[in-house]
């Protein structure tokens, strides 16, 4: 289970709000637009805090409860901000069989956070994901766009050190 706790105050800028309003204006009359608006809103803000959900509700007329329902249904929508470095541990079958569970535990221990959370300094966030399809390299983790494959628990210290 991923933690849904929000601990960071909302700090949206005017440019972000302008970009969001443009997205809403462009898409709001299309069929089934809510998912796409949420995806773009997340691109703009990095996550979907309640403030952003309210703006979408005001802009589209879609009730906030429906927006919240969709935002919490899909694992890619984050109600928490992500760290500067987003760590994602693949817990797909191939990776799991090759020990990614141990790697996930080690990362939680090293970073002092649960899956779904962000370190208080905003540097690292940790998530588990289901199969990024690099099963040939199992077990894998990704940090932002960089993929680390064929890992052992002992490799974690060296990898994190790169981002210190």
């Amino acid at each position: 289970m991923l933690s849904k706790k929000t601990t960071v105050p909302f700090r949206g800028t005017e440019e972000q709000e302008k970009a969001l309003l443009e997205v809403i204006a462009e898409l709001k009359d299309e069929k089934g637009a809510l998912m796409r608006i949420l995806q773009k809103a997340q691109d703009i803000y990095g996550y979907l805090p309640i403030e952003v959900q309210k703006m979408i509700s005001d802009g589209t007329g879609i009730p906030l409860e429906k927006i919240y329902g969709v935002a919490t249904f899909y694992s890619q929508f984050a109600l928490n901000p992500k760290g500067k470095y987003q760590i994602s541990v693949c817990l797909g079958t191939a990776c799991y069989v090759k020990g990614s569970g141990d790697i996930y535990n080690k990362l939680m221990e090293k970073l002092g956070i649960e899956g779904g959370e962000c370190t208080p300094d905003g540097k690292f966030s940790l998530d588990a994901c289901r199969c990024i399809g690099a099963c040939g390299l199992a077990p894998v983790i990704t940090i932002n766009d960089e993929v680390y494959g064929r890992l052992k628990v002992d490799d974690i210290d060296d990898i994190l050190a790169k981002y210190e």
């Binding site: 289970m1 899909y74 694992s75 079958t93 191939a94 994901c129 990024i132 099963c135 993929v147």
Partner: protein, 595 residues
Amino acid sequence: MYRSHVLVCGGTGCTSSGSHRIIEKLEKEIKKQGLEDEVGVVKTGCFGLCALGPIMIVYPEGSFYSMVKEDDIEEIVSEHLLKGRVVTRLLYDETVKGAEVLPLQETEFYKKQKRVALRNCGVINPENIEEYIGTGGYEALGKVLTEMTPEQVIQVMLDSGLRGRGGAGFPTGLKWKFAAGNPSDQKYVCCNADEGDPGAFMDRSVLEGDPHVVLEAMAIAGYAIGASQGYIYVRAEYPIAVQRLNIAIGQAREYGLLGKDIFGTGFDFDIELRLGAGAFVCGEETALMTSIEGNRGEPRPRPPFPALKGLYQKPTILNNVETYANVPQIILKGPEWFASMGTEKSKGTKVFALGGKVNNTGLVEIPMGTTLREIVEEIGGGIPNGKKFKAAQTGGPSGGCIPAEHFDVPIDYDNLIAIGSMMGSGGLIVMDEDTCMVDIAKFFLEFTVDESCGKCTPCRVGTRRMLEILEKITKGQGTMEDLDRLEELAAHLSSNSLCALGQTAPNPVLSTLKYFKDEYIAHIVDKKCPAGVCKDLLQYKIDPDKCKGCTLCARNCPNNAITGKVKEAHVIDQEKCVKCGACMEKCRFGAIYKE
């Protein structure tokens, strides 16, 4: 014209192992040698042998370089591309036989494969529509629109015996026939590219390596059922696939192969992408459509089936990527050709994503009816480190574990169901003696608990109750009655859940209970985990005869559970031990063992 082509895999597997840097370096070196007008570099889709990535093939020789490093590029360019001397040292060793270099098709990994759906993967540049057209692409669409009636197209699909490659195996032609038979002002053709089974990545490879084949097949389907709009619902976790699909759709529109009046026949068809947002249940057809509509991706009861009321309540067909990838070939080569491959009730080929404890991890396409033994031992190259095969898991969280006793069963839809698993989308995870089957069952239940959408009670509550029992067992607190309870719950879930997610969720438990009951009993009665996986049932111990008293383990123990004097045998305090295994990894004398 180039005299030489260098094909570098740009699939997710090889990109993850750095193929983009290889391409940059390659282009730089080629320029340095002044060969840019003679040698072309092509970024292709997946070759299939992901374990050996990054992969690079030089044509016309067909030299297969594997695990290429940036530092090797200079040598390959100056020796092979400039002077024509193949760098044998860097070739995939199976292609080197003495002084002779064998073609890739003769290696164990490729020998038994037959590529239909993956025909163009690793062969063409997926970002160039002309390369697809050059290999016969869009010919099938042309043939269908100018020479065939929709009824004839559907008949060809029925005759071919093609069944849905997403897992359930419903006859594709029949699905199309139902949708064609329901009149409506608007119909839809959808493509399920929400490949959610962990360990399956064949659809991604088709989208990345040959995106046009999906577009072409969807247009053919549109013509067959009378639809003018298509949607591809693709996982957002597949950025390369999304990017290549966008490029492909743009090119197809530019060439008039999508849009209005295709081939001047008056047939209109266009395709849009919709990105998923990470919900396994959206692979279920009604949930997927609910998600395209912008809602929580919850399934709804069937009937009405999508062929009658699907997307936006209009007749809709939904096929999986791999299914579509077969369609243009069937149209061009005829249903008899397709039906000549495979078994009596499962025609054609199937792509499997081979993963887990097997040497050649990657993507393989084989005729239906190939045995597990051939896949694991011959194509897969066996199990690493001389370990013993224990089971193969197919069908992801909906499937089951196939034990060694069924190693020689020909794999097709019906045989897999008969032995308690299912085809699923084609993930095939190999497990060896170090894999605990109770832990695997628990792993899949954790997955379904997480991914259950919560709409129907049997699935929402039932999966959690089953998981709790499995957790109890892996902690050594289980009873024999728990096994009966698991079976009882499983029966309720199968018969009462709303969609296939809940109906098939018990399969991993039932199949492991059927074939590996002794392991469950070992956990419950002996309080032991035979594979040494379940931490609560393990004890780390130090063999006093082997321990040299180097103190390394004691210094690395995070909980100070190891005591002992220098040069004397150390002891682990079981009360304090957190079973992290750090001591075992550090010990240089192999003195620490677990039991």
